[in-house]
């Protein structure tokens, strides 16, 4: 093997925020790192490798987006250190990069050239990737790459990171990167004048070529109409009230679509698990092993995976929405509303990220320049409804509004709104007490509206779905197996006195009914059936209450009694501290553990679950609302607490977060229960 093929070139990906660096890295290296069209999505350097036969492989480090290398922010410091070879990603040698790839937004050349000039001054082998040329063509005339290359003294490669156009040429250029032949001025004023002259030259050259081809007028007209449309949408989307109304409307439509579209796949998943449980019972016959597989394994998995369609649909639609450029407008509107609560628009991206998972959300708070504001954002980030809460929301809203997707969507939207409101109010408290101070002004760039990429949205939905299935197949499955064992043993053979009494009453009702007229006989039969059903519920509850899970549940139940939870719900809430989704599988295991649950759907079995009296439902309207509020507000995630401690620098903040959120959840759920009962 030759030296050329074994050598690995170290390339740094640098550029302004939101120029598509991570999209480029993902495309080049076949990775799926999170990308976003608002600044600050990349908070950690990411590494990927790309190679083709006969040439050196290229190891690419994607650095956070910055506007200048000379700023005092931690992101600029990281970039400076990497370029000077003083630091590198673990596992790689700390040395100057073999090449720097500066990603430049072709639709906004002049502003992007500042960092290009700063890098050129360092005399490192440089290649400029002129990204979004497709969009620049739609908006008018993209800069002329030959003129730009001549002016910069470095190779310029036009690319479209989203579609992958121009990437082979870029990789080749990186493999043959050379030191630039031009050096920009050393002073800040000189550099700014240089960016203007380079951008003007590249644009004028492109316009001259376009006029020669007679496409300039058409391009300008197209760009004008496109900008007019963007401005028209932005007049509503960034209006203080119109923007808020639009945001609520868009989110409602999104949730409605999720509930309406998920019905069929949900039914299908339920049917598959029901059929599988039946097959297992038939194959293995009566016995503990068959019960274990049907109730503990398939019951737990089915009770969780039934929510997979909603999760995948949610992330698919959110990705589409994000790709259009709308969410950046939402951040702009949010800045005005967050400011009175001590948070600025800088906190919007971390809080928005927390809706997928609080862990990246908390790490994204590193973009917040003010230390105290950052602490407040870390503390309130877990209030945002993460994807782990979705199965619980779906289960409870489905129980509250069966077959009404509009009302389910409203309740779902309400959960998100309650989480956000609790987060903002908690931030207000934090900023008035433990993290006093005013938030900084926000300056952000709004991307142009784009047609969303269905491929990106499908990848996002696939990744989230896979993550959920992995969790269901590991931690949730393990908890379901343990819970099945705890709720099955010890076996209670003594009959329930209450059930025996109900059966006796049922027999008495039917005795002598033959002599009665038809109408009265039928009424007696109905009463008999109701009493028999009650007796069965009493018997099941009697046995369940004697099991280990029943005993543990009854032991902790006094704590949750004021919230209206019986021992089953108390067990569900307790197991959720391992993972929130476990609540749904716990209820499924408890419900499908009943003898008569085999031919029911999991959701129906959960809905029909009765308390120890055999009459009252476990999930009443009051308890379902109370649980919904509890799950919106409670902190039930150990990894989040660990990250809070790490990012805030002390465990005391994680403990405060746990106590504050659980306390608020307990109080909120109690108030809701007592109002709704």
């Amino acid at each position: 093997m030759s030296d050329a093929t074994t050598r690995v070139l170290h390339v740094c990906l640098l550029g302004n925020p939101n120029t598509g660096k991570t999209t480029l890295l993902n495309r080049l290296c076949g990775l799926r790192h999170k990308t976003g069209n608002f600044p600050g999505t990349t908070q950690e350097a990411r590494v990927g490798t790309v190679g083709n036969s006969g040439l050196p492989a290229v190891r690419i480090t994607d650095l956070p987006g910055i506007y200048s290398l000379e700023l005092a922010s931690s992101e600029s410091e990281v970039c400076r250190e990497v370029l000077s070879g003083r630091t590198s990603a673990p596992g790689t040698d700390a040395r100057e990069p073999d090449a720097v790839c500066i990603v430049v937004d072709a639709t906004n050349l002049e502003r992007n050239l500042l960092i290009v000039g700063e890098v050129l001054r360092r005399r490192l082998p440089t290649v400029v990737a002129l990204n979004m040329v497709d969009l620049a063509r739609k908006l008018g005339t993209p800069p002329d790459e030959a003129t730009l290359s001549e002016q910069l003294g470095a190779r310029v490669v036009p690319i479209c990171a989203r579609s992958g156009d121009g990437l082979p040429a870029l990789v080749q250029a990186l493999q043959h990167a050379s030191i630039p032949t031009q050096t920009p001025p050393g002073t800040q004023a000189g550099l700014e004048a240089w960016t203007t002259s380079v951008a003007t030259a590249a644009t004028l050259a492109a316009q001259r070529k376009a006029h020669a081809g007679d496409t300039g007028a058409q391009g300008k007209a197209k760009a004008k109409s496109r900008m007019a449309l963007t401005d028209a949408i932005d007049r509503v989307a960034t209006h203080p009230l119109g923007g808020l109304a639009m945001f609520v409307g868009v989110m409602f439509a999104l949730f409605y679509a999720i509930f309406a579209l998920a019905q069929i796949p949900m039914g299908l998943i339920e049917a598959i698990f029901g059929w599988s449980a039946e097959r297992v019972q038939k194959l293995l016959g009566d016995g503990l092993l068959a019960d274990f597989i049907a109730g503990g394994v398939l019951g737990g998995l089915g009770g969780t995976l039934v929510f997979l369609p909603q999760i995948m649909l949610l992330f698919f639609l959110i990705s589409l929405l994000e790709d259009t450029g709308y969410l950046a407008r939402a951040a702009f509107v949010a800045d005005r509303f967050m400011r009175p609560f001590g948070l600025s628009g800088y906190a919007f991206v971390p809080l928005l990220s927390s809706h997928a998972c609080a862990l990246p959300g908390i790490m994204a708070t590193r973009t917040i320049p003010d230390r105290k504001e950052r602490l407040a954002a870390i503390l309130v980030a877990p209030f945002m409804s993460c994807s782990a809460r979705i199965p619980v929301y779906v289960l409870l809203t489905a129980l509250l509004f069966p077959g009404k997707p509009g009302q389910q969507a409203l309740a779902f939207l309400g959960c998100y709104a309650l989480g956000a409101a609790a987060g903002l109010l908690s931030s207000l408290v934090a900023r008035r007490t433990i993290a006093r101070g005013a938030s900084r002004e926000l300056a952000m760039e709004l991307p142009t509206y784009k047609r969303p990429s269905v491929r990106t949205a499908m990848l996002s939905a696939w990744d989230r779905g896979l993550l959920f299935v992995k969790k269901a197949g590991t931690i949730i499955l393990a908890i379901s197996m343990v819970l099945w064992w705890l709720s099955s043993f010890p076996k209670q053979h003594a009959p329930s006195p209450a059930a025996a009494e109900a059966r006796e009453r049922a027999a008495m009702v039917l005795a002598g009914a033959d002599a009665l007229p038809t109408a009265e006989r039928e009424a007696a039969q109905q009463q008999h059936d109701a009493l028999q059903e009650q007796a069965e519920h009493l018997e099941a509850s009697h046995h369940a209450a004697q099991t280990f899970a029943g005993r543990i549940g009854r032991f902790v139940q006094p704590v949750f009694e004021p919230l209206g939870y019986d021992w089953r719900l108390s067990i569900g809430v307790m197991t959720s501290f391992a993972a929130r989704e476990v609540f749904a599988s716990t209820m499924a295991v408890v419900a499908t553990g009943k003898d008569d649950a085999e031919d029911e759907g999991v959701l129906r079995a959960i809905k029909e679950l009765r308390r120890d009296d055999g009459v009252t439902l476990v999930f009443t309207t009051a308890t379902a609302w109370s649980l919904l509020v509890y799950y919106v507000l409670a902190m039930q995630c150990l990894p989040t607490l660990a990250v809070t401690a790490r990012e805030s620098g002390h465990w005391k903040w994680a403990v405060l977060q746990l106590v504050w959120m659980c306390g608020l959840a307990y109080l909120g759920a109690m108030v809701v229960y007592w109002v709704a009962r």
Partner: protein, 52 residues
């Protein structure tokens, strides 16, 4: 407890294995949290030996 039933011992073994795996996972997560190390292809950069 149906200790005379061989199926009882199998399901007990499976449940105990699941419980043990959960404890091991929790301990590992706590240790990883203390060390501050991530997983996968994400890489943290440091400046002057300190994470940024």
């Amino acid at each position: 407890m149906p200790t005379h039933d061989w199926q009882f011992w199998i399901v007990t073994l499976l449940a105990a294995g699941a419980a043990g795996w959960m404890v091991w996972r929790a301990v590992r997560a706590l240790r990883a949290g203390k060390r501050g190390k991530g997983k996968g292809t994400r890489t943290n950069l440091t400046v002057g030996g300190r994470r940024v």
